[in-house]
């Protein structure tokens, strides 16, 4: 079984990445990746919701008939996000002040419904939890990466305000390029689309190279 969990992780992080392969969740991707810190915050909040929603959907998968599964999942996810929102507001108020902005956006994140529909409804609870974690971390990585590039080009900083999100001990992550005002376009939506386009193209080229190399190796081995 450990093999298939490894595959789930690889799927979520790279091969079937929410942003770079499935091209899902474009709305939060474009909206929050104006800085690395924002991307990280949104990614972590989404990961938490994704894991729990995958577990719940997997638990009820035998009771829910396929005809009404979509409304049931939507209600389930919306309820879950609202409860998380309220609980964080009440008991993790400091964190809520930082992440609260993102939580409402998670409801409209189709990646969550997508995973419920594509994976959790067909698989066991543990596998679904692993899948949620892998997809969530892949999403977090993608958002942070896009956010860092846009932040660096757009405002000349890296992980600005990370200490607000992660605590003062992470202030060392914050960097600033002196004497660079930044290209505003990169922070605005067109910059987001441009960066995403380049990254997608880059991923394709990389995968092609890897494929060619393994094909060459196979040829050599045959010869």
């Amino acid at each position: 079984m450990s093999d298939s969990y490894g595959k789930l992780m690889k799927d979520g992080l790279w091969e079937n990445n929410v942003v770079f392969a499935q091209l899902l969740a474009m709305c939060p991707t474009m909206a929050v990746t104006t800085s690395g810190t924002n991307g990280l915050g949104m990614g972590l909040a989404t990961t938490a919701v994704l894991v729990v929603s995958n577990i719940l959907v997997s638990m009820i998968r035998h009771t829910v008939s396929s005809q009404v599964r979509i409304p049931v999942f939507v209600v389930l996810i919306a309820t879950l996000v609202t409860v998380v929102d309220m609980a964080m507001n009440a008991w993790l108020h400091e964190l809520y002040k930082v992440l609260g902005l993102f939580i409402a956006l998670i409801v409209v994140n189709c990646a969550i419904l997508g995973r419920a529909e594509a994976f959790a409804v067909k698989n066991g609870v543990v596998a679904s939890a692993v899948d949620g974690l892998a997809m969530g971390l892949g999403f977090t990585g993608a958002l942070t990466f896009i956010g860092l590039i846009r932040e660096f080009l757009g405002s000349g900083t890296l992980f600005a305000q990370a200490s607000n999100l992660l605590g003062p001990s992470f202030a060392f992550l914050e960097m600033k390029l002196p004497g660079y005002g930044g290209a505003l376009l990169m922070i605005l939506p067109p910059g987001g689309f441009a960066i995403l386009g380049f990254l997608l193209a880059g991923k394709r080229v990389m995968e092609q190279r890897i494929q060619e190399r393994s094909a060459e190796k196979a040829e050599l081995a045959a010869a």
């Binding site: 929050v32 924002n38 829910v64 005809q67 409860v83 309220m86 507001n89 009440a90 902005l101 505003l184």
Partner: protein
Amino acid sequence: MNLEAIREKIGYQPFLLGVFALLASGALAWASSATGDAIAAAEAKDLRDSLSEVLPQGLADNDFLKDTVDLKNGEKTITIYRARQGGVVKAALFKVAERGYAGDIQVLMAVDIDGKTLGVRVLKHAETPGLGDKIEVKKDKWIKDFDGKSLGDPAPEKWGVKKDSGIFDQFAGATITPRAVVKAVKGGLEFFAAHKAEITG
């Protein structure tokens, strides 16, 4: 009959939807009642913290959270917290709201008895992260530009962002947000000027 056969029946679908709607409402009601007090307490603490942030230290010797007066401003009721020293009102603290780029921006401001701004802070907003959120004091010191300003200083036509030939900076990529904050603060000062007698009385 096994579950799979029942699952295909037409009556099962509305039943299932109903059960989940009930469960969801139940969960929400429970969560709302379980968190209500804690949220209210956390927000009260936030209010206390931000009230003491806009008010210069040592200006008040009373518990201004308890010394309030409610005044009508158009449709809305504004609660004014009065900071006293030796029983005399020295400053008024109140919240104003203005529509920003995404939803209302709630601004808390302290005005001294001469109508001069002592401090302004943004309490709540839904502006674009990375662009409009520079109105938060944690992210930018822009909001401190309002300190010491009054209705006569700068002149009324200069109460705007630089793009509108005012004196306040706008942010690169976000003009609507600072414009709304400037408007809110100006509105707050006008409100104070109009109700000064009631507030200090």
